[in-house]
Symmetry: C2
Subunit: 358 residues, 2 copies
Amino acid sequence: MSDEKISLQSAICPMPLSHTDQIVIGHGSGGRMTHDLIQSVFAKQFSNPALDQNNDAASLNIPSLSQSCQRIAVSTDCHIVSPLFFPGGDIGRLAVCGTVNDVSMLGAKPHYLTAGFILEEGFAISDLIKIVASMKQAADEAVVQIVAGDTKVVEKGKADGLFITTTGVGFIPDGREIGGEYAQDGDQIMVSGTLGDHGIAVLAARGDLGFETTIQSDVAPLNHLIDLLLSAAPHTHVLRDPTRGGLATTLNEIAVQSQVGILLQEQELPVRDEVRAACNILGFDPLYVANEGKVIAIVPAAEAEEALSAMRSHPYGKDARIIGKVNSTPAGRVLLKTTIGATRVLDMLSGSMLPRIC
Amino acid sequence: MSDEKISLQSAICPMPLSHTDQIVIGHGSGGRMTHDLIQSVFAKQFSNPALDQNNDAASLNIPSLSQSCQRIAVSTDCHIVSPLFFPGGDIGRLAVCGTVNDVSMLGAKPHYLTAGFILEEGFAISDLIKIVASMKQAADEAVVQIVAGDTKVVEKGKADGLFITTTGVGFIPDGREIGGEYAQDGDQIMVSGTLGDHGIAVLAARGDLGFETTIQSDVAPLNHLIDLLLSAAPHTHVLRDPTRGGLATTLNEIAVQSQVGILLQEQELPVRDEVRAACNILGFDPLYVANEGKVIAIVPAAEAEEALSAMRSHPYGKDARIIGKVNSTPAGRVLLKTTIGATRVLDMLSGSMLPRIC
């Protein structure tokens, strides 16, 4: 080791971040430039006692809930949406909401998020600042804290601007048993609102539609809506958000997990006219298009009306509908009763309809 | 919505994974191909009751530890190492060990990991299988479970083969207070083994050295070593793994957090001859080169000998050394007493010495 090398390193004064406008490889070094980026972009927005510990991991209290809690819920999602900004949201809002929602689908209360950023060299720091601010806004809305993070940089051409991986930790009140395996014969199936908005909004933002549209992504944190729902319908069996693969794929997963039949009523399925029109032109089926702010709830018939009212009392659930029911047969299958009275099988999505929508 | 579209989708029989040898966009669709990939690659290796729940989040028991526990430790890391395979390890082992180690640095017991995979279209499935098997092996060695995951696919040229983001959850026994802010005047500083092995091994794997070397990465899970250490030295103040930025950057972080001075003895710093030789030729300082299987422990003098013996009793700590001590001044600075008796300042890494080593 030579003194000169170190003295040289000490003498290099890193440029203040305000003087650079793009991500450079040095921002991923783990040294001074990484610290500067973290302080001036991430810590500025996300600052909280857990994150500000600046240790290798965050030390987090297990909260005292109104009920006791012996289980945590953990979920992770990589976000690669293209483009990064789209009507109704951006990759930052998506990354926070997607993980908040996944944790909430066990009936858990999401508390803590981590966020890992893979940045491409040359990415505009002004865009990063916008995205981080959007994450902060979504986290505040959901009332969760971003408690740990990581930032890596790859060379130009080795990524696509920015990927964000979020992991969420929530706490499951004792006695709560919600999951895809609990659907039962006679349960009512409801969805919190219109289908396909997110996928079509992202497609529109890519300019792939070939026509103008006003469709906005539905990306939103659903934990408060789910709190209301579970207060009204405490015996809810299943919660699931129909993201990639859409409603049809998600219901197929549940039908298999619970070994039940699912029967949907086509005339009850809420789809915006603009989304239906876009799907017709493009040859898509809105039942397979991703949503990012919708929840499917499968609820005992005795609590279905209360559940529906509770969802409709929240802005993100105002278009909630009962869309079908659970039968004992055909086990593992989803059937659709069409508007003309025919019944057909809705299968899981095959192949890839809309890549990079989340 | 049209029946034909769905019937067509139902009729497309996805190719069994064994008949494809590369990742295609459909593997990220969230539909049947994603399920096939998950079942045949990920679930096959990682299967455990938590992962096999197949819900949006994993429901995990808060374990009964020997001591009671009211805090969790959470950490996340994005892994972008290039190349994916290097002497002594691969991105899979790195992703598991890096996160196990970060969680352990609070004195927490790591239990659960999540893993998010961003795959580039065209990536060889045989390589993915190798990497996933390596993750499983590292997780088994550390005795942690991979409980949740996500898989996304981007078009060819929009990523670099594979990125893996891991998040770890551990449990902190009550009363344990370990962190970068707790170093105190008089503490002894030790490191569990030789410095710079990982960074130089990755560089060698890139063919950037211009000469042959037998240096292997030190990538390893340190949680068992740390268990031994904390049994022997229960009042340990700081644990930190010197990854990106190396020993010098990590000690600078600690000196600032604790507002203490750190004095290192150059002749005590363990560096392999091959690593020193490679660094001399390349103009690197091994004190700034990343390690992935080393821990810095800062321990009260009264427990230092016990701590050192405990580390040396574990295979990953056999080369452990006391390398310096903590002083009250100069606050926030790291000094090196050189072999010729001079004292110089060791600053934090500036710029980027070795990109994409983790």
